[in-house]
């Protein structure tokens, strides 16, 4: 007989992976149910937190400890600090990153439980190898060193090493899998783990090099530009670098999956865990007493510390929630197949019982903690239960309407995958197509919605690819040893440390324990009717319009007015053109439009510099005058009244307001009284004519962010307390520079970014009753008017020159 409490009372445990789902539950259970035991945790220092802080924040504060806190009352803090200790370390580095004191601390422990792992099924190959494949051996190596140190002191040191693995190391092949080491498993391919480690590390190096090849780098830059537009060098570089890292990671993920499947495992997780077992047993099997615990799919607690306790979202939750939201129309699976789920508290209890019993024999042994053989749960039943439950307890959409869940027809995985892949490709094409259209405002926001739906399809596809194997698995994991251990437990211990899978009533577990828990975790709406909360946009708007703000910066084109530099030019150039000259002028401009647009998209600065050459030789006094007419007849007519009201509102609130635009001074001059300051492009003047060259760099793209920063610094204003309004991803630098960015009628790229980052989006339209000129042309001079000399202020030579300069530079 094993008396768990007696066997473990006063023992010291060394636990890795305590910040994880299983680890947290284990620590809590040890402290609550094993008298006087002490627990030492190996915790990685966080970026801004010591291990002790992480323990306090991420483990003890977790609602897992609510029960213990209630039971201990005032003694809780004292008890925790007396029995729980953290040491800095990392299973991804040799010797666990422990110094001599750390090893000495380890040598004072009796049982070592290794539950740290990269549990993500789609981890990059190299990190899965470092943590899952090498982790157990590293812990064992440290245990060996600690035991030697203890022996030298005349103590016994850690007597039992319990690494947590996964039942799926035995593969997902048909038939039964026994609780045995993999070497005895006839399905597993003999592969040298050292070779795998070396190959994974080499692959990382190779990919890092490959990702830096010039053509790849050019590709990242191109993609960044596609995504952000002309956002400026720095932002594009940042984005391109992130794309490169993502590519390396994705390649490593794919490589992991491919390698795993080539060897017969469903994914990199099972594969690296399996080879981790092999490495451990081959190197330390004879030296360290080892019991490997292999749970199947761990889900929310059946009873301990409370029914439904769960930490983070595991494998099934995102799928179930996507289904409840009506997003996952189908999921593959065999209805009569067994889905091997095991509640976390059963796994914890099994580990505790294994520790209490101690190692068996001299070679490593294996214990499965799985439900499939003892208490099989059919996939079809799970789906029925989930559907029934969400039909009774629907979640509600943003409008307070219940979401009707779809009925699954259990199609084959291939079909679902193909369907989703098709949708994925279709949406990608649609996105690229629409993304290249110059849409903005509401349509662009709708586009961003399309992008969001695309992301959902991709996620669904990801689930199917990742987890599909698990709903179709026909492997059955035997639990003879587990039940043997169960047989050795006293009635009282069985009560206290239940790990018999037969204890689960699946219907009750799904209906009353698991689903309510994940729904409350997911923070979805479970009540009908419109939300009484102030909508998010209104809250953000209130923050933008708080008197605490310092500065409000505005872009001009498509933020304040629905017009651009080409409109202004066309208006000014045609201002005094006679009717017959206009057609030719318009035709000319239309012919150049594609080249103009392309250049603008490529580089706004180049575009402006080249476009403004057209002003070369134009008379300054006449354009200064016409600038005013242009403002009142075109810009004001095409202005957004809400935008103007917003500028005025900021001023009334005492915020400094500044217009930062690449438009010309003569065009924005009439806006001066609206703002405290205007920063704009300034054309050189020479005598009575324009030079066609800008006096200084126009405030666009990144330069705009710098101008804003300089302005704020000079005025003693803080950017994190400031607001910026702009319409395009090319203004990203300015928007990112401030604490309160606002996207106005955003074009598709910015709409997507704003949506992702939760920025305020304003949809401002031109006044309904305003004049809406079809073409931005100046008014015809009255028939009786005496013609002024020169029909257009712009000389043909300047126009032709500007056109030549439009040709792409070679």
């Amino acid at each position: 007989m094993v008396d768990v409490r007696h066997a473990l009372a006063g023992k010291r445990f060394f636990v890795t992976g305590a910040t994880g789902f299983l680890g947290t539950a284990l620590v809590e259970r040890l402290l609550r149910s094993v008298p006087d035991c002490q627990v030492v945790l190996l915790v990685r220092p966080g970026r801004r937190a010591t291990p002790a802080q992480r323990v306090a924040r991420e483990i003890v504060k977790n609602d897992c400890f609510d029960r213990l806190r209630a039971e201990l009352g005032d003694r809780f803090d004292d008890e925790i600090s007396a029995r729980l200790q953290a040491v800095a370390g990392d299973v991804g580095t040799d010797r666990l990153g422990l110094d001599d004191d750390g090893i000495r601390l380890l040598s004072t422990c009796d049982v070592v439980v290794h539950s740290a792992a990269t549990v993500s099924f789609d981890a990059p190959l190299d990190s899965a190898v470092e943590v899952n494949m090498l982790g157990p051996s590293r812990v064992a190596e440290a245990v060996v060193e600690a035991r030697a140190l203890a022996a030298a002191d005349g103590r016994s040191g850690p007597a039992h090493f319990v690494p947590v693995s996964t039942a799926y190391v035995a593969g997902t092949h048909q038939g039964e899998a026994a609780e045995e080491l993999l070497d005895g498993n006839r399905y597993s391919v003999a592969v040298d783990w050292r070779g795998e480690v070396a190959a994974a590390r080499r692959l990382r190096d190779d990919l890092e090099s490959a990702s830096r090849r010039p053509e790849r780098l050019a590709g990242y830059t191109r993609s960044a530009r596609d995504e952000l537009g002309a956002a400026g060098l720095h932002l594009l570089a940042e984005r391109a670098e992130r794309l490169r890292e993502d590519w390396v990671k994705r390649e490593l993920v794919d490589a992991g999956k491919a390698r795993a499947q080539a060897l017969g495992w469903p994914d990199a997780y099972a594969y690296t865990k399996a080879l981790g077992e092999r490495a451990l047993t081959s190197r330390f099997g004879g030296e360290v007493p080892i019991t490997i615990v292999r749970p199947s799919i761990i889900e929310s607690a059946l009873a301990e510390p409370r029914p439904g306790w769960i930490r983070g979202f595991r494998m099934a939750e995102p799928i179930i929630l996507s289904y409840a939201r009506g997003l996952l129309r189908e999921f593959p699976g065999v209805p009569e197949g067994v889905i091997d789920v095991i509640p976390v508290d059963l796994v914890v209890a099994a580990i505790v019982a294994v520790a209490a019993r101690g190692p068996v024999g001299t070679s490593p042994s294996v214990v499965h903690v799985a439900s499939g053989v003892r208490n099989p749960f059919r996939y079809g039943r799970l789906v029925d239960l989930v559907q029934a439950w969400f039909t009774d307890h629907p979640i509600y959409d943003a409008d307070g309407q219940p979401i009707v869940v779809p009925e699954w027809s259990f199609p084959g995985r291939g079909r679902v995958q193909r369907q989703l892949q098709r949708a994925d490709r279709l949406m990608e094409t649609a996105e690229r197509l629409v993304g290249s259209l110059p849409v903005r405002g509401r349509r662009a926001t709708w586009m961003a919605g399309l992008e969001e739906r695309h992301a959902l399809v991709q996620r669904a596809l990801g689930y199917v690819e990742l987890y599909g194997a698990y709903t179709e698995t026909e492997a059955r994991y035997r639990v003879d040893r587990l039940l043997g251990l169960w047989g050795e437990l006293s009635e009282a211990d069985r009560e206290r440390f239940c790990f018999d899978p037969a204890a689960i009533d699946w219907d009750t577990y799904v209906r009353d324990v698991h689903l309510p828990s994940i729904v409350s975790h997911a923070r979805v709406r479970t009540t009908p009717g419109r939300s009484t909360q102030v909508p998010r946009a209104e809250r953000t708007r209130a923050a933008v319009l708080s008197p605490d703000r310092h500065l409000a910066a505005f872009d001009l084109e498509n933020t304040l007015v629905s017009s651009n530099v080409v409109d202004s030019y066309a208006w000014l150039a045609s201002r005094h053109l006679p009717a017959r000259g206009r057609a030719a002028f318009v035709a000319d401009l239309v012919r150049q439009a594609p080249a103009l647009l392309a250049l603008d998209r490529r580089d706004r600065g180049d575009f402006l510099r080249s476009f403004y050459r057209r002003y070369e030789g134009a008379p300054t006094d006449r354009l200064d005058d016409d600038g005013w007419e242009l403002f009142h007849h075109l810009l004001l007519a095409k202005s957004y009244p809400s935008a103007i009201a917003r500028v005025r509102r900021h001023r009334a609130l005492g915020h400094r307001t500044v217009l930062i635009t690449g438009a010309l001074d003569l065009v924005v001059e009439p806006l001066r009284p609206l703002f405290d300051d205007i920063v704009c492009a300034r054309l050189g003047r020479n005598g009575g004519t324009f030079t066609g060259h800008l006096d200084e760099l126009p405030p666009i793209g990144e330069a705009r962010a710098l101008v804003l920063a300089d302005y704020a610094a000079a005025e003693g204003l803080r950017l994190e307390e400031s607001v910026a309004y702009a319409d395009s991803a090319s203004d990203l630098a300015m928007l990112e520079a401030v604490g309160f960015p606002v996207a106005v009628n955003p074009e598709a790229k910015l709409a997507a970014i704003a949506r992702r980052r939760g920025w305020l989006v304003e949809e401002w339209g031109t006044a309904e009753g305003g004049p809406r000129p079809v073409l931005p042309l100046g008014p015809l001079d009255a028939p009786g008017a005496r013609r002024r000399p020169g029909d257009s202020p712009f000389s043909p030579a300047a126009r032709a020159g500007a056109r030549r300069r439009l040709e792409p530079r070679r």
Binding site: L636, P641, A645, G769, G770, P771, R772, A782, A785
Partner: protein
């Protein structure tokens, strides 16, 4: 055959449906049996030789005034002010009355050897006129002679250097007007007296004044005490202007007033049916109505608006008066009455009216909701002498789409008035107290008024004050076919059909009310006994 006078029709079973203007379109409504429809008098015969009539008026002035040629001498400063784009409605076909008068005056000035001549558009707080509008009002000859030389000015009520404070009336009213006009040796004012409100001392005291001066009579109290402002002798608006006008005269400003009246020939050939009585519509009129209605239904409002705003009225001159302000104005008023007065017997419980696309303040622009209110409750409601057409506590039903459409160039402060002021309160007095000052002195509105084509920041307030008398008098205002949100924001009630409107009105006036329809335009003045 002399033109027929105005006429009140009693609706019976045989009466054809009645035409209601509805913005850039029309509705035909069958009025309840027993209703009355007030029709305008037919257009008077115009002057046969307008130029000769003008010249004669200039040389044979009324009241205590010398003939114009006797007032002109070399070396003098002569300023000629003229009514702006708000008159007449719709803009009249060329030549405009102002052009005819101006050319005669300038001929006399040239003959007398006057060199220092400046023309000033008397904008008050209205928007500046565009080149095209100035050319239309004055003619190309006058425009090209003055504008390029900088001698054609538009009154700027916000230019401190261009204003002069002449004093304060015995009622404490500041009189501040255009400096050039005040400091000229002679100020000639060229009027178009479209309605009885126009002209008299109001020409200079309002048209060339500043906000500082205007606020004394453009306020809720004055407007409530003007019953109506179309009736000079019962209008506090006019009393105030008269006090100011007399002070201006006493300050030594020499004014030679020229007033002109037009007949009510409002719509050109194709739209002839709009000024006819429905039962007299010819086959051609019916066809024109059917065709234009069908076309308008398929036309976006924006396009329909452009079409309507291109309409030039065939208005013709019916009289010219010149000389001393008060004597001239008395004669002019008689001529306006001769054309517009319609005798109406007794008040009504419900007054209905169809509002057209145009008012004095949206020439070449859109009739925004505030202007809709002003046109109905300000102008049309006040087209009475004696008593209002509708009894106190009665209901006004007007028909207009009342879409939330605003012109950002002409009416920028209207947008903010609609968005920021009306949601707070629709009470003219509260509005004046809480909001007027900040709009009137707002630098951005001042900037747009001075440099662009925007009405002054305070102008939407004046439009609302124009409604003050009606708002106080009426039990309810219902807008048929109006955008419900806009209508409600102004404190009115929306109804989708006239029948619905009558149903709503029954809450206020009971189930068997009397109903009168004001069939305007053309413009008329109801003489209610």
């Amino acid at each position: 055959m002399s033109p027929r006078p105005g006429f009140v029709l009693d609706v019976d079973r045989s009466t054809p449906p009645t035409l209601f203007w509805h913005g850039e379109g029309f509705r035909l409504e069958r009025l309840p049996v027993g209703s009355r429809v007030v029709y305008a008098p037919e257009p008077l015969e115009p002057l046969r030789d307008p130029r000769a009539a003008i010249r004669s008026a200039l040389l044979h002035p009324l009241g205590d005034s010398e003939p114009l040629d006797a007032l002109l001498r070399p070396g003098m400063r002569l300023t000629i002010a003229f009514d702006d784009v708000s008159l007449p409605l719709p803009p009249m076909a060329r030549p405009d009355a102002r052009q005819l008068v101006m050319e005669e005056v300038l001929d006399l000035a040239a003959a007398a050897g006057v060199d220092d001549v400046v023309l000033i558009a008397a904008l008050a707080l209205h928007r500046r006129m565009t080149e095209a509008e100035l050319r239309h009002a004055l003619g190309d000859r006058v425009y090209d002679a003055f504008a390029p030389a900088g001698l054609l000015l538009q009154h700027d009520a916000e230019d401190p250097d261009a204003l002069v404070h002449l004093g304060v009336t015995d009622q404490g009213e500041d009189v501040e007007i255009n400096r050039r006009a005040a400091e000229s040796d002679l100020l000639v004012y060229v009027n178009i007296n479209l309605v009885a409100m126009d002209g008299g001392h109001k020409s200079v005291a309002t048209g060339l004044a500043s906000y500082r001066s205007l606020r004394h009579h453009h306020n809720p109290a004055t407007m409530r005490a003007s019953r109506s402002f179309m009736d000079q002798h019962h209008s506090e608006l006019h009393s105030s202007n008269w006090r100011m006008g007399r002070l201006i005269a006493e300050s030594g400003v020499r004014i030679f007033q020229i007033e002109t009246t037009l007949n009510t020939d409002t719509f050109p050939g194709t739209f002839d049916f709009l000024q006819k009585r429905e039962w007299e519509w010819s086959l051609r009129d019916r066809a024109a109505f059917a065709a234009s209605s069908a076309a308008l239904e398929r036309t976006p409002p924006r396009v329909a608006r452009r079409i309507f705003h291109s309409v030039r009225a065939p208005h013709r001159l019916t009289s010219v008066q010149a000389g001393e302000v008060e004597a001239v104005h008395a004669e002019t008023t008689a001529n306006v009455h001769r054309q517009q007065l319609v005798a109406v017997d007794g008040q009504t419980d419900i007054l209905t009216m169809g509002l057209p696309y145009i008012s004095p303040y949206n020439v070449n622009s859109v009739l925004n909701p505030i202007l809709v209110a002003c046109l109905g409750l300000g102008y049309f409601f006040n087209l009475y002498r004696g008593r209002p057409l509708v009894r106190e506590g009665g209901v006004l039903i007007m028909s207009h789409p009342t879409r939330p459409e605003f012109d950002p160039v002409h009416h920028p402060s209207y947008i903010d008035f609609f968005e920021e002021v009306l949601p707070e309160t629709t009470d003219p007095v509260a509005i004046a107290e809480r909001f007027e000052e900040s709009f009137a002195t707002d630098p951005w509105y001042v900037h747009l008024y001075r440099t662009g084509y925007a009405y002054h920041g305070v102008h939407p307030f004046y439009m609302w004050y124009w409604c003050a008398h009606a708002l106080e008098h009426l039990g309810a205002v219902i807008v048929v076919g109006g955008d419900p949100a806009s209508v409600r924001r102004m404190g009115f009630r929306p109804a989708s059909t006239l029948a619905d409107a009558l149903e709503i009105a029954s809450d206020v006036v009971g189930t068997s009310p009397t109903l009168t329809h004001l069939h305007t335009p053309p413009i008329m003045l109801a003489d209610v006994t």
